[in-house]
Assembly symmetry: C2
Homo-oligomer: 130 residues x 2
Amino acid sequence: MKYSQATDYALHAMLYLVTAAPDKPVGVQLLAEKLGVSQTYLSKMMTKLVKAGLIQSTPGANGGYRLRRKQEDISFLDIIHAIEGTASLFECSLNHGSECLIQQVVIDAERQMEQYLENKKIADLSKLIK
Amino acid sequence: MKYSQATDYALHAMLYLVTAAPDKPVGVQLLAEKLGVSQTYLSKMMTKLVKAGLIQSTPGANGGYRLRRKQEDISFLDIIHAIEGTASLFECSLNHGSECLIQQVVIDAERQMEQYLENKKIADLSKLIK
DNA sequence: GCGTGATTACTCGGATACAAGATGTCCGAGTTTGAGCGG
DNA sequence: CCGCTCAAACTCGGACATCTTGTATCCGAGTAATCACGC
């Protein structure tokens, strides 16, 4: 079990959007160059972030991506969910009639982690960098 | 990102070992039948649990698997680590000189979850079932 | 009745097969900006 | 100087290709208990 690299890229891309250019749209090519990823692959993740409502894309020349909300309102969990999906990371495959106690424990544990990630905002990191 | 089914099986197998037969060894065939998995596949996970020191195997006739420690001393995290490995679930692939702030946040979040899983013992569930 | 060998009931480990998902590339289509050209 | 057209700079989305990993099976080897058989 591991987080995908895509999540890694998305987090870094978001952090860059915040610290580098709050207003001006940033193109994929510049982002890809900074992160060392191919443009086409990175654009897949950016698309997911757009669909999740975290960022905004403006097509055409001088276009690019830009934050949709304030950076104080964007949590780590938002980004991770946008890339990885919101499905629970444990699902009991056995069909023992009632609810699975084991599943309940693991999901509770997952919730601990998500709570932490939800309280961590992008803005918390951008302050440290500046 | 998801926990593998193997972890699911291992957790259920451990729970069965605790609730069904505290002393007598339980064979793979019986376990596999209870869980609805093939014997050969389940035996892979049992091997991992043995190597992790959680259970003990006795070969030969009337053999099988049996707990090595007391059930109060076996946590969910022990079992999960035995199957999934102890590697961190996030690793920054970018080589920006210093330590990655993003990675630090995610790893801290992971620790939250692990702490919860470490405090949950198998014995907690076996009490509820009996 | 007692020892010895064969059979049976198990675990253990490697090799292999298969499917799904992560990773990454290529290409065509749509959209806006801006430059160039002609009237 | 104005308006039209065209090219360039972008994003968007689908279709592939590849590689890793999870899932699963098969088979042979080792080991201990039990049974059978002969002395």
